[in-house]
Amino acid sequence: MAWNDILKPLSGWKFLFKKPHTIRYPKEDKIPSERYRGIHTNMIDKCIGCGSCEKICMNQAITMKEMDVEVKEGTTNLRPVVDHGRCCYCGLCVDICPTGSLWLSRDYRHLSEDIDTFIIDPNVKEKEREGWQKAPEFSLIPPERGKMEEIPPEKRVKSFMEVFVGYTEPIAKEEAQRCLGCGLCVDACATHMHIPDYLKAIREGNNEEAVRIMFKNNPLSEICGTVCTHFCENVCPVGIIGEPVAIQWEKEFATRTIEDYKKIIDTTIKEKKERVAVVGAGPAGLSFAFYLRLKGYKIDVFEKYEKPGGMMLLGIPSYRLPRKVIEKEIKFITSTGVKIHTGTQIGKKKTFKELLKKYSAVFVATGNTKPYTMGIPGEEGKDTLQAISFLYDVNTGKKIDLKGKKVLVVGGGNVAMDAIRTSRRLGADVYLSYRRREVDMPADELERKEAKEEGIEFMIQTLPIEVIREKGKIKAVKYVPTDMDFSEKGKRPKPVPRMNDVRTLEVDIIIEAIGQGPDLTYLEQEFGESLKIEKGKPVVDKNLMCSIKGLFFGGDMANKQNDIVSAVADGRRAAEGVHNYLQNK
């Protein structure tokens, strides 16, 4: 023991007059660090109410409560309320929040004798005191969707082979894991397919169960898996972080693995006496027939053309929707006992009135068959084609040669996309004229991308004003660029043509794809004033019945969305409506 050791502790005295480094007089508040995890704050308008924070919370501290907020598409009126007595301030809710509306603030003090005050409504209008907040690269949701094999564009344009490859099992399972289970997609889907349920079945490897869930709401699931407008993916909150869950492709994968639906779906039927007629074997007619048949009614479907399928068969090119898929689904529907009479047009020999007498109810879903025209000088002529009749000709096998010709397609919807890509496959040089911006196009993003890859020139923000003809044949098109007018809020911007900047483009053929409406000629002839029509469409109630008893309308001719999935939804709704009507008759 050295003497030194006894004296050494005295060295502590040198700190006697030093400033203390932890306790501060007068008291100073410590400013928390930038990443501090304090009390929750949530931007009420940015939050979409998906409830992921509630699900990830390990302490059940977050409760989603209904609140008085504006419910836009892809949102709910649920907003989080946090019990800070349970919260452990881990910030997992912030890391999983797809919108970044939720963060942990730098406030950390709350003192009260009342326990109830610890249940804090964190919803605010403006950003404040941000602490731990969302960092996109550390989001708990994987941003990229599973990769699907692609066919190179050079190979694609050579034929009408299918361009869609589809998922393989491991990738489908992995992709299904990305689902948050929020159900916003179910709200957005016209048929309200139980998407999170079947994604769960897919990731568990139970494709049969997945298909069973799908067919509860949609008997054309595989068709929808291939060509749907997928509003579900548009609202998917995962899409805010990166790419939305590939719901459509998942559906296609699951249905593709099932060879015969009859084996896995229970279609035992208790027969009823009543007979119901369906006019038009398109998506609406088929889904109506299927669901009403399951309720036991006897169904007769009348179809004008030689094959059932409607616009799916005649409007959509086979590279996008292979014919075997349509056949597979229709075969399943007919196997339940639905009778389809092809080549029978109602309105000419057989009248609607006859049908109404013979059958307990009639469902009409003949679709939009009358195309709109531009109405510009020089438009009329043999070489101005309507997109739907053009596609009909191609799909029914009529030989059309466009090799070396210049084709201008006008429009920006999916029909326009089908027209340009079909013309391209027939050998033409294709231009697309659309009057708004590309982001305003109703056409699918993937379609647009693939069309560009195939070498189609997009003339965005242009408007044809005149067709120049020489000896009756089209020589060129005069067009002007347009500007966007954003003055009307909440609507798509209005195109304003720049009339002093006229340009010309030499073309041989013009294809118009600017929309179509229903053809109600026969109905008007038969029923006259007693059938109420508004804006070119028959007026229907919530059961889809029109002003005439027993006559139901659905599909494109009655709804605004004009797509397959809405038609299917109409069919299902009308089936319920007809059932209710006949039960209460």
Binding site: T63, G181, G183, V186, H194, P196, D197
Partner: protein, 167 residues
Amino acid sequence: MSDFITRLKNITGLNIHKEKLYQASLKVDKEKIRKTLLDLKKEGFLQFTTLTCIDWIEEKTFQLVYHLWHREEKLHLKVKIDIDRDAPIVETVSDIYIVAQTYEREVKEMFGVDFKGNKRLIPFILEDWNEIPPMRRDFNTREYVKDMYETEDRTEEIFKPRWKKYD
């Protein structure tokens, strides 16, 4: 490490599987556990790291995992035995490795496995416990907490699908 495992196999006649992270596992019969651990201790496994019990309720077995560590050869050996869940009795190893006594006490309390020969299987952590051993899979914590503290459990509500309204 591989050499050592081969040597160990030759000496003890045990079927040892090499695994990741300096680990190896070994499955023996319940009756042989004492002999095995005695042999292994002689071979230099001087550190008794821990004893884990896993409840495989579907197969009606408890799996006991004895973790041993060999400092010189850097090998973590997991010796596993399966015991019947309905009659969970096994011989103690607390005289081979002294610290095993505490771990056996804990397993006895949490899983109800009896260790024949352990002199000190007195209560360890729990107090006033009248239910089945709490770490068993069939002990429902949520129900217990509900009865005991009258709290609400919202698990079902949280994971209830919102889309059932469309059925």
